[in-house]
């Protein structure tokens, strides 16, 4: 069977499965729609949350990012797993006991303030919107590559599918679909890693391969893989793979901001409202992190293998003798080669090959003397001749390792699963925020339950149209930069405020509101200034916009305590409520209230 046929077969099969599951678990009530009826088993919820958490960007780009920056990329690995320790010990058991549908409900009720509610709604919508745009773009890219269609068509097909099962099935539908998607993702991620590990290190387990020996040149030349990679990197003028180039303070702040941000992301927190008790929240969190760890422990191995393999196969090889995959990805514009020294041999060195973020071509499709695609970007003066988009490493890995077409098709199906599962989860939280937190709680409190589910479905349609629009016309410079916003805002707003709402009875509405507003204001201002206006990178104390959310969080804490100390304690009813959420018993199903 050809590669095409395998792609159609695997993608078709997985889609039939997702839609079948969605149809079987159609949502009837608001409770089904928002929290899947509150009775999902811990293990199923763990897999679903893991699928929700791992976005297209994580699945496709993370290993490539690790390959490109080595130790520096540990901030993502730790940030996006370590956050679950904070989430589990500090946030979710208590919010589950609180028993409402959304995170914003907690802010509004605990601090008796519609202003806190409004700030929360705006943050939640902003965070989810930033995320979902990237997902729709991801779906579009994978589809366009698979079926040779325009990206726009790919985005529209993807949106239709997401709307179909998230809008119809609600939380119940997507939870069970995500369980299936997690299984597809985990196979798609680990199977190629196993084969490549065997090829490069002779070890079946990729995690052991990472710390094992590089044996591709034969057992008698075996050296530790990471040592080999360090040597390669240094020879080509890059920093050592196992050393970082970020300052210690910046690395600390970014890792901390990502961890605290993770613990404050509304679309992650609500996943734990679907299980039936506080005890089930704890075991569900164990399963979630274990499911995520399977992929996050494999990513560094894939990154190291891909980088070694890429340099080994490409650097110092004549262009005409390169393996086939090089030309394939060159045709798609994701790899480019410029023969700067006119020797017909590919040289990879540190430094950008040309001006601009990606290669540009003229319409004639001109080819150079060796058959390479000629690019039109102005060249930079250095010895580096190879450009590759880090994103391709996961998708190109199976081709680089000469694996069977069904594995390549499986990786494609995994990419689609990653994008769809995250998009569906986000869409649901987005529609809940709009219909429940904004419409029902702030605009028109007299809505019936039926009207509320209907408005949630309309809201999800509306959000999807906006997301699809930005997926087709990405504000590209902006999308990459807004990720810093999403985590920074979550770290500076939701995480500290929820935390204090649970662990202090004294913190009142004035303190919480003032803290949230200053925390967000500072973080938002700092990121906006450096991303859009400053035009230089002389950061304050060297803390990059990615890590400033950590400082915003400290400001939030400080302002909240200061203002609280100057204003009266909250009412007895609120203090009793706080007392009650600390008691792990009697968490009924999440309610509407």
């Amino acid at each position: 069977m050809s590669q095409e046929a395998w792609n159609y077969l695997l993608i078709g099969l997985t889609f039939a499965m997702y839609i079948g599951i969605a149809l079987r678990s159609k949502a009837g009530s608001t409770k089904d729609y928002y929290v899947a009826g509150g009775g999902v088993s811990s293990f199923a919820n763990g897999m679903a949350t893991a699928a929700d958490w791992m976005s297209a960007a994580t699945f496709i780009s993370m290993a490539g990012g690790i390959a490109a920056s080595g130790y520096n990329a540990s901030r993502f690995l730790m940030g996006w797993t370590g956050g679950f320790v904070l989430l589990t010990t500090l946030i979710v058991p208590y919010l589950r006991k609180f028993g409402k549908f959304t995170v914003v409900d907690f802010l509004g009720d605990r601090f008796e303030s519609n202003l806190a509610r409004l700030v929360g709604v705006i943050c939640a919508i902003f965070i989810c919107m930033t995320y979902i745009m990237g997902q729709m773009r991801g779906v579009g890219l994978v589809f366009s590559r698979l079926f040779d269609i325009e990206i726009a068509t790919g985005v529209i097909i993807g949106s239709a599918i997401v709307f179909f099962y998230a809008g119809i099935g609600g939380m119940k539908g997507i939870t069970y679909t995500q369980v299936a998607q997690y299984c597809v993702m985990v196979f798609a991620y680990t199977i190629p890693a196993v084969f490549i590990s065997m090829l490069i290190t002779g070890n079946v387990i990729p995690q052991l391969g990472l710390i094992g020996n590089f044996t591709k040149d034969g057992a008698e030349h075996a050296v530790p893989l990471l040592e080999k990679l360090n040597t390669l990197n240094v020879d080509l003028g890059f920093a050592k793979y196992t050393d970082g180039s970020l300052s210690k303070l910046d690395m600390f702040c970014i890792t901390a901001a990502l961890m605290c941000g993770t613990a404050g992301l509304p679309h992650v927190i609500v996943r734990f409202f679907t299980v039936k008790s506080v005890k089930a929240v704890r075991s569900s969190a164990c399963w979630t992190l274990s499911c995520i760890a399977v992929i996050y422990l494999t990513a560094p191995a894939i990154g190291a293998f891909a980088r070694t393999n890429f340099i080994d196969e490409v650097h110092g090889t004549a262009y005409t003798e390169l393996p086939e995959w090089f030309g394939n990805w060159e045709d798609r514009g994701l790899i480019a080669w410029v023969d700067k020294n006119q020797d017909g041999i590919v040289q990879h060195q540190a430094g950008a090959v040309f001006e601009g973020r990606s290669p540009t071509y003229d319409a004639s499709g001109a080819r150079g003397t060796h058959g390479e695609r000629l690019i039109t970007n102005p060249l930079k003066e250095n010895a580096n001749e190879v450009f590759y988009a880090p994103d391709i490493l996961v998708m190109a890995n199976p081709e680089m390792a000469n694996l069977h077409p069904w594995i390549i098709a499986l990786v494609m199906a995994g990419c689609v699963a990653a994008a769809l599962s995250t998009a569906a989860g986000l869409l649901l939280v987005l529609s809940t925020s709009i219909s429940h937190d904004l419409m029902k709680k702030l605009v028109s409190p007299n809505m019936s339950e039926k009207q509320e589910v209907l408005s949630a479905r309309l809201a999800s349609f509306g959000s999807l149209v906006v997301a699809a629009y930005f997926g087709i016309n990405p504000p590209s410079e902006i999308v990459a930069k807004t990720v810093a916003f999403a985590f920074g805002l979550a770290a500076a707003s939701f995480f500290p405020t929820i935390l204090m709402g649970i662990f202090s009875k004294r913190v009142n509405k004035h303190g919480a509101t003032a803290g949230m507003v200053t925390g967000i204001g500072f973080t938002f201002g700092y990121i906006t200034y450096f991303q859009f206006y400053a035009g230089h990178q002389n950061y304050w104390l060297g803390i990059s916009p990615e890590g400033i959310g950590f400082v915003g969080m400290l400001i939030n804490f400080a302002v909240t305590f200061l203002v609280t100390a100057l204003t009266p304690a909250p009412s007895q009813a609120i203090q009793d409520m706080v007392e009650d959420i600390r008691d792990p018993t009697g968490a009924g199903a999440a309610t509407h209230g």
Partner: protein, 105 residues
């Protein structure tokens, strides 16, 4: 799929007359557990993997072919997080039991 949360029949049989739950002591106990877990969390992630990485890289034996600090940053800390959550679940569940704050279901 098995659900690990359903208590076994014998655990139920052991506690027929439920003594009054001690909320204050339970809360104190949970704070102690959370602080312990978070101290370890901080040590393995921001500590070993960021603040003391160079020191660990050069002073501790490497893990297979990986310098210790680098290994902590890319593999060790993640494994540690999973273990921490398993320990947290165990400690909290037994704390609930000790203070008679367990759900029947």
């Amino acid at each position: 799929m098995s659900d690990p949360d359903i208590p076994s029949a014998e655990a139920k049989a052991e506690t027929p007359p439920t003594p009054p739950a001690d909320h204050a002591a339970h809360w104190k106990g949970s704070i102690r557990i959370v602080l312990g877990i978070l101290a370890t969390w901080f040590f393995i992630s921001l500590g070993c993997s960021v603040l003391f990485r160079e020191f660990l890289d050069s002073h501790l034996p490497s893990v297979g072919g990986a310098p210790f600090g680098f290994w902590m940053a890319q593999q060790g800390s993640i494994l540690g997080f999973v273990l921490l959550l398993i320990v947290y679940r165990k400690l909290m569940n037994s704390l609930d039991q000790r203070h008679h704050l367990e759900d029947e279901a």
